[in-house]
């Protein structure tokens, strides 16, 4: 797609397009974040408290990033979560989107229903999942013991089960999100292309492979980027269900660890350093994703 056409040679209007948005971003995101960066070098004892000079040495927090075992756990868990998110959330969403695209009766209904989990706030979902996984009388334990599968209740949040318990709700919740984006992307593919392909005998699975997927490339890339960044930031649902590192400091994710350090521990400067790490990782990974998915990289 040759974008160096004559329409876009004059760069004047570009200012109008970009400035308003970037004004907001600078004021409300970049400037505070620069504050955040400064904070990561300073010594701050409590939230809302002023900095008391620089850390000693000034890069102390960043050195801790390398040695902190809890952060390492958090990163490890987040990596696993990212992979799961990409494979399951986006993967399932893609399959569902393609399936819904192929039917007419009931498509509207399915589109509405798949959206529900996103609408319900994470707190409410956390509540529901807590009741499902509850040790004493939760749905799963009740069901399993009634069916005779288990004798003693399973502690779904202990060290041997927590991964599944933590990841399943998080992944389930956002399938609908990628689903809606992919459906929109599918809608943008003009019908004429399908008809032309059909004339060439390309239908069904090969239609998907040779027409749909390539045209979805940009949208899929967007989904990938969103999935990666989402996993790095995810906070609400894991926090409500697991809190501070449950079980026994093995359940940390980058998002929850950052929150805990900043708010509960008052270790604001270290929290800022973790935030920096999250941002850097996010930018790097999304650039990688972009390069992989859009080799004719005009970015």
């Amino acid at each position: 797609m040759n974008s160096s056409s004559t329409l876009y040679k004059k760069k004047g209007p570009l200012v109008v397009f970009l400035v308003p948005a970037f004004l907001f971003l600078v004021l409300y995101l970049y400037y505070p974040f620069v504050q955040n960066v400064i904070n990561s070098f300073s010594d701050i004892t409590g939230l809302g408290a002023p900095a008391q000079g620089l850390n000693d040495p000034w890069w102390a927090n960043y050195a801790t990033l390398f040695t902190d075992p809890k952060l390492r756990t958090a990163l490890g868990n987040t990596v696993i979560l990212t992979v799961c998110t990409v494979v399951f959330q986006v993967g399932v969403a893609l399959i569902l989107a393609l399936l819904v695209d192929s039917i007419r009766v009931g498509a509207q209904l399915f589109r509405t229903l798949y959206f529900f989990p996103i609408v319900i706030s994470a707190t409410a979902l956390g509540l529901m999942f807590n009741l499902i996984f509850l040790y004493n009388g939760g749905m799963l334990n009740q069901l399993f013991s009634n069916l005779g599968i288990i004798e003693k209740n399973i502690d779904w949040k202990d060290t041997s089960h927590f991964m599944v318990t933590m990841f399943t709700p998080v992944m389930w919740q956002y399938v609908g999100f990628y689903f809606v984006i992919l459906v929109t992307g599918l809608n943008n593919i003009p019908q004429d292309l399908y008809e032309a392909a059909a004339l060439d005998g390309c239908v069904g699975l090969s239609k998907v492979r040779y027409v749909t997927l390539p045209l979805l490339r940009n949208v899929l890339c967007t989904c990938l980027v969103l999935a990666v960044t989402g996993a790095l930031k995810v906070f609400d649902l894991p926090w409500v269900m697991f809190g501070a590192g449950m079980p026994q400091d093995q359940g940390w994710l980058t998002g929850t660890y950052m929150y805990d350090q900043t708010f509960n521990r008052g270790n604001v400067d270290y929290g800022s350093a973790i935030a920096m790490l999250i941002v850097v990782l996010g930018v790097v990974l999304s650039n990688v994703a972009n390069r992989v998915f859009k080799p004719r990289n005009d970015l």
Partner: protein
């Protein structure tokens, strides 16, 4: 598409109905303000109504919210001032908001806040007025309070006028105990007897102790420390893990570890929330629960039918401590900010507000069995059975002291309690945990 329209209309209609229902149900508050609390007799109406900004922790779903709102209305009716109330529920986020407000100059005029180490930032920044200065202008300020019980800040001055305090003691589920053939503990309960009782209870299939070591090991920590020392030494803070106080703390942690290894805590104590373990107690599946005075109303609200099963008893003691010694005190109070003090109109209004909220009559609507600093004590009306049980137990209490965890920095406290789960599983020794915490003090 028609179906969609219909559906959307239906949803909109439901919303509209709920809006109307919401409006209809609120003719200015659905709790009848039968007696909006006494006005302060000695306040002449000021020239023009003042708008007072107030922040307290009696917002959200605090148990005392209704009493607070009634009291505020009483003040407004008596003085003609208006109160802009921005109260919240007391948690870490609320604390952060309050401190940030002071930082940015948007603090309220009257603040009801912690009087412990949490208040140090604003005291040291000179943003609140001390009681002595207030008394220079208003000699009868807080005259109904015992001065000895006012919180003392690090600079030796008093800044806050206390409201109702708290106590921490042992709740027991008498139904569980009787089913196991265990007697309800009395003020001479020993640790060894407690261990034996726990074993009996455990053998019978119940959970002896309801406690979430993950979320709230706080209360057991306090009492276990006291068990390894004395009441008067409770507030000593170790300088490092090796000194006498540090060793006391480590011994306390090891006591908890002992209980854990014997299996007296719930099976999922490391992954359960406080709400879940309290539920165990409420549902009659656990016998012992250490908690505080604030929980009394919780049981009334959520376990009303089985209220008769619970009584307040005593935490088992060993060493030099007696079981009749408990934790308690007053940890929050009303501050007047310098911002309000410097504004002559607000100064008067703020002082009147605090006087009203801490008057004997208003306090009696807040207090049931808690500690107060009132010279004449509070006279609450109509205690429910559990409150009565608490009052009965309190009659035998021989000594009360504040929790040492309120005397250390919040970082130290957070680190200490986060490490409890590691100590009980053997991942960390008690000494290491104490050392790590003290380093942050």
């Amino acid at each position: 598409m028609k179906k969609n329209r219909l559906f959307a209309l239906l949803l909109a209609a439901i919303m509209l109905l709920s809006l109307l229902a919401g409006c209809a149900g609120n003719p200015g508050g659905s709790d009848p303000t039968k007696d909006p609390g006494p006005g302060t007799k000695d306040t002449p109406k000021p020239a023009a109504p003042v708008e007072l900004n107030v922040v307290t922790s009696y917002g959200g779903d605090d148990g005392n919210r209704k009493s607070y709102e009634n009291a505020v209305k009483g003040y407004e009716d008596a003085t003609g001032n208006r109160v802009q109330d921005a109260s919240g529920t007391s948690n870490e986020e609320w604390k952060a908001k309050v401190l940030t407000d002071f930082e940015t100059g948007t603090e309220p005029d009257v603040l009801f806040f912690f009087t412990s180490a949490d208040a140090e930032p604003i005291i040291q920044a000179g943003k609140v007025v001390d009681v002595a200065t207030i008394r220079a202008e208003y000699p009868d300020y807080a005259s109904n309070m015992r001065d000895s019980m006012l919180a003392v800040a690090s600079d030796g001055k008093n800044y806050a006028i206390p409201s109702s305090g708290f106590w921490e003691n042992m709740f027991v589920n008498t139904k569980v105990l009787s089913d196991c053939g265990v007697a309800v503990p009395g003020p001479d309960y020993t640790w060894d007897q407690f261990l034996a009782d726990c074993q009996t209870i455990k053998d019978k299939g119940y959970t002896p102790i309801a406690c979430s070591l993950f979320e709230v090991p706080h209360y057991w920590f306090e009492f276990c420390i006291m068990n390894n020392g004395t009441l008067s030494e409770q507030l000593d803070i170790p300088a490092d893990a090796g000194d006498a106080v540090g060793q006391k703390w480590a011994a306390g942690l090891n006591d908890i570890k002992d209980l854990y290894e014997k299996g007296y805590f719930p099976v999922n104590t490391l992954t359960a929330t406080d709400a879940e373990t309290v539920q165990l107690f409420g549902d009659g599946e656990a016998a012992f629960l250490i908690d505080g005075s604030w929980k009394v109303n919780y049981f009334v609200d959520n376990h009303g039918e089985t209220l008769g099963d619970y009584v307040i008893s005593y935490v088992p003691a060993k060493g030099e401590r007696k079981a009749s010694e408990a934790i308690g005190g007053i940890s929050m109070g009303y501050f007047i900010t310098k911002k309000a003090w410097d504004d002559p109109a607000k100064r008067e209004a703020a002082v009147q507000f605090v006087k009203h909220m801490t008057s004997d009559t208003v306090m009696s609507t807040f207090v049931t069995t808690e500690v107060t600093a009132l010279k004449n004590g509070a006279s609450p009306a109509g205690l429910n059975p559990l409150q009565q049980a608490a009052a009965d137990a309190n009659a035998y209490i021989t000594g009360v002291i504040g929790p040492v965890q309120d005397a250390v920095s919040p970082e130290c406290k957070a680190e200490l309690f986060a490490n409890v789960q590691r100590v009980v599983t053997g991942d960390m020794t008690a000494e290491e945990a104490v050392a790590a915490a003290i380093a942050l003090n």
